[in-house]
């Protein structure tokens, strides 16, 4: 798995309202697009990294090293093309802001939390559950792929070409899995009483709390400081 998921007690970041995380994530990503000062971008990046640390989402040393090497190479290429160190650093930092912003929402928000947040909006129930199903599809497929890989490891090559082994051991089962998934979802959703036309209630709906206010406040201060670094105190 790319990131370590926290199962035990949820961190303050996990408890934030999904829309707050989404708003700050999208907001900072858009903000990073207009920023050109590396210091401002570094500040936005620090905010996301701090959020991930509080959320106890960690990268392994190997992942850190890969990210640093990748961004280093990108900076080097940019510098080679533009001969402007500030420009090169800004591009790499902007990309780093985009990359670190994604798990702030994705790795700290369960599909059900997102669907509960969406259910407070005047959206059709079918759309809300569709979000859950799409969100659930990827981890489920990841588990299937893990089993396929284990089966393939135990089978070895058995005298077949690598392409044949890949086709028979991965492509075909994957296609079956996807078709079966859609079939069984259609069946089991109805067996569990779901109807796209019927109104649903919501267990433990998320509410905006003090935590969210604090997070928005910190994000606003960070954004203001970034603006200050970019454009200075006045015109």
């Amino acid at each position: 798995m790319f990131l370590t998921r926290v199962e035990a007690a949820k961190t303050p970041v996990h408890r934030l309202h999904p829309f707050v995380k989404m708003g700050v994530g999208f907001g900072f990503t858009a903000y990073a697009l207009v920023m050109i000062d590396p210091r401002s971008l570094a500040l936005l990046l620090s905010f996301f990294l701090l959020t991930l640390i509080v959320a106890r989402i960690s990268w392994s040393i190997k992942q850190w090293a890969s990210a640093i090497v990748f961004l280093g190479v990108l900076t080097g290429l940019n510098f080679w093309a533009s001969s402007d160190p500030s420009h090169a650093a800004a591009y790499s930092l902007r990309l780093a802001v985009f990359i670190t912003g994604i798990p702030v929402l994705a790795a700290t928000t369960a599909p059900q939390e997102m669907s509960r947040a969406l259910s407070r909006l005047p959206l059709p129930p079918g759309l809300v559950v569709a979000v859950v199903l799409v969100w659930r599809f990827f981890p489920m497929m990841a588990a299937e792929v893990r089993e396929m890989r284990q089966a393939a490891l135990l089978r070895g090559r058995q005298g077949r070409s690598r392409q044949n082994a890949f086709f028979r051991g991965f492509v075909v089962p994957m296609a079956f899995c996807m078709v079966e998934y859609s079939d069984r979802v259609a069946l089991t959703l109805e067996l569990r009483g779901f109807s796209p036309r019927a109104a649903r209630s919501c267990y433990n709906p998320p509410t905006i709390g003090l935590n969210d206010g604090l997070y928005i406040g910190l994000a606003a201060i960070t954004a203001a400081m970034a603006a200050l670094l970019q454009w200075g105190a006045g015109p």
């Binding site: 659930r136 569990r192 109104a199």
Partner: protein, 457 residues
């Protein structure tokens, strides 16, 4: 509560009826056990009772079904779900949420239950299945048995009048199975009708009011006597085929070890059974043995090869592991190809298929088989390869008495020929028949139980 008359179901493109003139009645509070050979139409009956046939699953249905004194004709499946809760054979199919509480709440949300009433109903449902300790857990971290309990709790939370349970004991440990039997009794007292499809009749018989046997789509009232499985004979004891020496294991990111100081050996000509509660680490031991997982400490020797130093493919040349879910171990377009690839000559392949009752299915695609048939096919293919060591994970799931007898007979021959066998199971019949020795995992440590204690787990 349930009244089925002249029920006939035929799937498109199939020559035979899946159910033929089936008749069945069950009263409020009655617990009925439906047993029958694999493929006799039990799951089809379940799908018909909850209205999924023909509404969602395409098939031609004739005859009458009445649930709670109402005909199911014209009732949407969603509406039927209020009256009939259907626990499927593979519970992974009916789980939608990430966490246990949310999964139990999913059905309640669908029926618009007020949020303030949900908490109590979630708690009560989890208490019924002895699953309160699972609250807040991620579903992905649960064992198969724990998932089954959560899926059952999710059905119970909706409070349907009829419950149809398709092989509910399949992955349950002895404690959870005992709890399920107690749950059935409680449901019966509250006038719920429970229909259980299960091959392990011996376990369920004390907890049901009536037993009905099905054969090829018909309900036969007098069930045949259960087969008694004789213990397999020990082969000539030889060198250890599998050695675990002080093995510790922890999942990445977890501080606590799942397994601590595990040491045991399985010799050639010997069959060892691995017992333990759901989530105790039985499957993990099998994966460690094949090098699919790395131990934190300790040494594992598989057929003379160090598991840490050799890739799983190399270990698999000498040993075979049969997964709990056989789907991904079958990868060829025909059933016959799976065994032919494993066997050097065609005759042993034909015999292997025949001995597992699969000879007539040789030209079918493996994916079209039932779960029990797939499991027998993976076993036939593994036996054809004549491995020195076989590791089996819940081999009896989905097997009727006759199929299980075939499996045990083949495994007996394998042991007699000098093979070594390690089987992880919750099934007492398998444990009693296969165990020359029993090992029990409790709180991460392994205890030698000896043969007489196998059933007690």
């Amino acid at each position: 509560m349930i009244a089925v008359h002249d029920l006939t179901v035929r799937y498109p493109g199939q020559a035979c009826h899946a159910l033929s003139n089936m008749a069945l009645e069950a009263q409020p509070g009655e617990r009925v056990l439906l047993a029958g050979a694999t493929g006799c139409g039990k799951s089809t009956l379940g799908l018909a009772l909850c209205g999924a046939i023909p509404e969602i699953v395409p098939a031609r249905r004739t005859g009458a079904i009445r649930i709670c004194n109402r005909s199911i004709d014209g009732r949407p499946v969603r509406d039927m779900a209020r009256d009939v809760g259907f626990l499927m054979q593979n519970v992974a199919n009916q789980i939608f949420s990430d966490r246990v509480d949310e999964e139990v709440a999913f059905g309640l949300e669908n029926f618009g239950t007020p949020a303030q009433a949900m908490e109590d109903r979630i708690q009560q449902a989890l208490e019924l299945v002895d699953g309160c300790h699972l609250r807040g857990r991620l579903i992905d971290t649960l064992s198969a048995g724990e998932r089954q309990r959560v899926a059952l709790a999710a059905l119970l939370a909706v409070d349907p009048q009829v419950l149809v349970l398709d092989e509910p004991l399949a992955f349950l440990d002895s404690n959870a199975a005992g709890r399920l039997l107690w749950t059935l009794e409680r449901l019966s007292r509250s006038q719920k009708t429970v229909l259980v499809f299960e091959h392990r009749r011996d376990m369920l018989r004390p907890a049901v009011d009536r037993e009905v046997s099905m054969a090829a789509g018909y309900a036969i009232q007098a069930p045949p006597p259960a087969l008694v499985f004789s213990p397999i004979v020990r082969g000539t004891s030889g060198d250890p085929a599998l050695v675990f020496d002080s093995v510790d294991f922890a999942w990445p990111g977890r501080a606590q070890n799942l397994l601590r100081g595990i040491s045991f050996a399985v010799r050639r000509g010997e069959s060892v059974v691995l017992l333990g509660d759901n989530g105790s680490g039985k499957t993990t031991i099998l994966a460690l043995a094949m090098g699919l997982l790395r131990p934190k400490n300790g040494r594992i020797q598989n057929c003379g090869l160090a598991a840490r130093k050799n890739p799983p493919g190399r270990l698999a040349e000498k040993a075979a592991l049969l997964f709990q879910n056989p789907d991904h171990q079958l990868h060829l377009p025909r059933v016959g190809d799976e065994v032919r690839l494993a066997s050097a000559k065609p005759e042993p392949a034909r015999q292997a298929l025949s001995s597992m009752g699969l000879a007539d299915l040789a030209d079918r695609h493996p994916r079209s088989l039932s779960m029990g048939q797939k499991r027998r096919l993976t076993l036939a293919a593994a036996l054809c390869r004549q491995p020195e060591l076989m590791l089996l994970d819940e081999p009896s799931v989905g097997q009727d008495d006759r199929s299980l007898a075939s499996i045990l007979e083949q495994l007996g021959n394998y042991i007699q020929a000098g093979g070594a066998l390690l089987t992880a199971t919750h099934d007492r019949r398998v444990a009693d028949a296969l165990s020359h020795r029993c090992l029990v995992i409790k709180h991460g440590q392994l205890h030698e139980a000896g043969k007489p204690h196998c059933s007690l787990e």
